[in-house]
């Protein structure tokens, strides 16, 4: 098995175990490149990649850019914080213009669920989902899994708790699908107003008491809590959120001994996580950032050269 089953990466819900395995194994190879003095391989020489960002993003965009540069690809960036609708040009027109510029691969971030799928329907390039609405963010979940696997040498059988805004998080959705596919046990925890309808149907244990959720877990992956959710009336105050769901050193006692603290960033110190926890010896938050490049290099490499291929 040295080929992915799809020529796009739209989400992890449909991605089979063998594909995830292949991406993570390939990422191990690229991880070594990042530590070299000359952090560059000629793998994607002559391949043109567009980073199409309809939402503001710093770290995901930079991570993809670095991954692309390290693979010697040619890069163009298209960033706009306004949606295509407001701008007046439809997404299809934008994409067809891009297609006419002979782009081979597109990394897309968009505020609407399904926008990456829409792209696959109007162009031949390989599409990589860099986050669509509250739907999926597959490369983030892959780098989270890479980081966990790197430490424990396995994913199967581990207990992973995802804490935060379950309702609006694409990172959580991709993590749920990926972790479950790889045989991990997944628990979700957040305020009841941020748990989406019938969330149990994901096949996860669901908690509103963070102490219960952490009991016996190996990994805690903490999501950023966004201020606008509080303004939207979904929880009373940041203070109360921190009291009920903030990850403190005290709460870590419930975890397994060799526990791991993760956060996709950017972190709100003192809100969803204390500095003590974020900077503690079991935190891999910065490793996640480094590993993200390797995982994205692996995805780009594995999907490249398959432009226009029939599904």
């Amino acid at each position: 098995m040295s080929r992915l089953s799809s020529r796009h990466l739209l989400g992890l819900e449909e991605t089979p175990q063998e594909d995830i395995q292949l991406i993570l194994d390939t990422a191990e190879t690229f991880r070594e490149v990042i530590d070299r003095t000359i952090k560059r391989v000629p793998t994607l020489r002559g391949v043109t990649i567009l980073n199409l960002f309809y939402e503001p993003s710093t770290r995901t965009r930079i991570s993809f850019e670095l991954a692309e540069k390290r693979l010697s690809a040619d890069i163009v960036n298209f960033s706009t914080s306004t949606s295509s609708v407001k701008k007046g040009e439809s997404l299809r027109d934008t994409v067809q213009n891009i297609e006419a510029m002979k782009i081979d691969m597109v990394v897309v971030r968009h505020g609407s669920t399904g926008a990456p799928y829409f792209l696959t329907q109007c162009m031949d390039a390989n599409i990589i989902n860099g986050g669509d609405g509250s739907h999926e963010h597959p490369t983030q979940a892959l780098l989270d899994m890479y980081t966990i696997r790197h430490k424990y040498k396995k994913l199967k059988g581990l207990r992973v708790v995802l804490v935060g805004d379950i309702k609006h998080s694409r990172v959580i959705r991709s993590n749920i699908w990926g972790l479950k596919t790889m045989g991990a046990s997944v628990a979700l925890c957040g305020p009841a107003t941020l748990l989406p309808y019938d969330v149990e149907q994901f096949g996860c244990d669901v908690y509103t008491d963070v102490d219960e959720a952490l009991e016996g877990a190996d990994v805690v992956n903490i999501m950023r809590i966004q201020l606008e959710r509080q303004q939207g009336g979904l929880f009373p105050s940041q203070r109360e959120y921190t009291n009920l769901f903030g990850i403190t050193k005290e709460r870590l006692k419930r975890l397994n001994r060799n526990y791991t603290i993760m956060h996709p960033g950017p972190i709100n110190r003192g809100v969803e996580i204390t500095s003590e926890v974020a900077d503690g010896k079991n935190s891999v938050i910065l490793d996640q950032v480094t590993n993200g490049q390797a995982v994205r290099m692996a995805v780009l490499y594995l999907l490249s050269g398959r432009k226009g291929e029939e599904e």
């Binding site: 439809s90 399904g114 799928y117 829409f118 609405g133 999926e136 609006h168 309808y197 019938d198």
Partner: protein, 436 residues
């Protein structure tokens, strides 16, 4: 020599008229645009038919001959959005779908909240291939703030009022509308979705919205709206009509209200009878974006059961044309609505009649007599002396829904590519063939 006594005969069809309780093979005789008589086959009749010129006979062997169908929920978009539909194109689509009468919704630009706009629509409809009955606005500019001049609208011929597209959110405003409409004995049609609970939802709130990370509108948004209006209807003793019922809770509430004697009627669309929200994640087809949203299987089963047991009176399409440009976009920014006039008959035959939920007579009743009874437009029957509005259906014709063949200006149907059984063969209005 052609017959002088009659202009046209529709011969040998299976004539179904639920209003008359008629369901036999028969011949329908038409003169001066009116139905003159319906006769079962006999030696004498066969002899009489010999006096007809072949151009005066429509052979309806193996076809169904039914009263011209009535759709009480149609958006014709003119004035204001002629790119999506005009009164003319919408009525051609209606004729193609077997509908000889449509009730048009007032959310045009300008709104149908004044006599001039009613008159404009009526003038445009004079040459159209279907009858157009205007449903006026409840409130000025359908904003829910001040009653429209409903007396004026009724005087011009409005058959009902609605702010369709918007729910009359203020209960006191809805109470006044019900009371005021009672003076004219017209029903108030409600688009029952509480906007605060919908909260900008773009699909049904269920595990599917959870899975896709799309904002969901809960079934409770419809149920609360319906329950509130039923309470107001009980209070005012007025006539209430619930548009496009989509949830089990709403069906149950209406069933109970009817048992109590509350004057409520209801409609359901083919898409709520057939589709469920697990379709959305397959291709993010924006033609599946509709308000109220398509729901879960248990809701779908409940609206089917409600239609079958009479809780829901009418089948109505909520024909809502949008241009390709407006629909070719991301799912959550697409405007809600889908076209329906040209697919209703095939969908009802394929998904309700062939699956044993309804007989042809039941289905025809819910598209003729019951809509006429609900909103009061004339028609819905083949009684002698009434205008010859007749739909002839080929019940076993197999066809594939092809948007390029729609007569509607818009193609936004989620049923494109569906293989259906049952198609309109000819549509006759005032004794003239308006579609074949």
């Amino acid at each position: 020599m052609p017959s002088k006594k009659y202009d046209l005969v529709i011969s040998n069809g299976r004539v179904i008229d639920p209003a008359l309780g008629f369901g036999k093979d028969a011949h329908v005789f038409i003169k001066d645009g009116l139905i003159k008589k319906i006769e079962v086959d006999s030696v004498a009749i066969r002899k009489e038919l010999k006096s007809f010129d072949t151009s005066q006979i429509i052979d309806a062997t193996d076809k169904l001959v039914v009263p011209g169908l009535i759709d009480i929920h149609v958006h014709l978009r003119e004035p204001g959005r002629e790119g999506a539909e005009t009164i003319d194109s919408g009525c051609r689509a209606a004729a193609a779908g077997g509908f000889t009468s449509v009730c048009c919704m007032p959310n045009t630009t300008p709104r149908i909240d004044n006599q001039e706009t009613v008159k404009f629509v009526q003038d445009r409809a004079k040459t159209a291939s279907a009858r157009v009955y205007v449903v006026g606005a409840i409130t000025k500019n359908i904003e829910g703030k001040q009653l429209a001049e409903i007396g004026d609208l009724v005087k011009m011929g409005a058959v009902a009022i609605t702010d369709d597209g918007n729910y009359v959110q203020d209960p006191n405003m809805m109470r006044r509308a019900l009371e005021y409409a009672k003076m004219f004995d017209i029903p108030v049609m409600q688009h029952a979705e509480d906007k605060y609970l919908c909260d900008g939802g773009v699909m049904n709130e269920s595990f599917q919205s959870t899975r896709l990370g799309l904002k969901g509108a809960p079934p409770a948004a419809e149920e609360i709206a319906v329950l509130r209006d039923l309470a107001l209807c009980r209070l005012t003793k007025s006539r209430l009509h619930i548009q496009h019922v989509s949830t089990k809770g709403a069906v149950d509430a209406i069933r109970q209200a009817k048992a109590e004697g509350i004057r409520v009627t209801a409609e359901v669309t083919p898409h709520h009878l057939i589709l469920t929200d697990d379709e959305i994640g397959k291709e993010f087809n924006t033609n599946l974006r509709v308000n109220p949203p398509i729901r879960t299987e248990s809701d779908r089963e409940a609206v089917v059961a409600g239609l079958v047991d009479g809780t829901i009176d009418c089948i109505a399409s909520d024909h809502a044309p949008h241009t390709d440009e407006d629909k070719d976009c991301e799912f959550d920014v697409a405007p809600p609505g889908m076209v329906g006039l040209e697919t209703t008959v095939g969908l009802i035959k394929t998904f309700l009649i062939d699956k044993g939920y309804l007989s042809w007579a039941d289905a025809i009743r819910k598209m003729t007599y019951d809509p006429a009874r609900t909103l009061g437009p004339p028609g819905g029957s083949l009684s002698d002396g009434t205008p010859a509005d007749i739909t002839i259906i080929d019940p076993e014709k197999r066809w594939t829904v092809n948007a390029a063949k729609f007569l509607s200006r818009s193609k936004n149907s989620p049923f494109v590519g569906y293989k259906l059984t049952g198609k309109v063969y000819k549509t006759i209005m005032n004794g003239k063939v308006v579609f074949e």
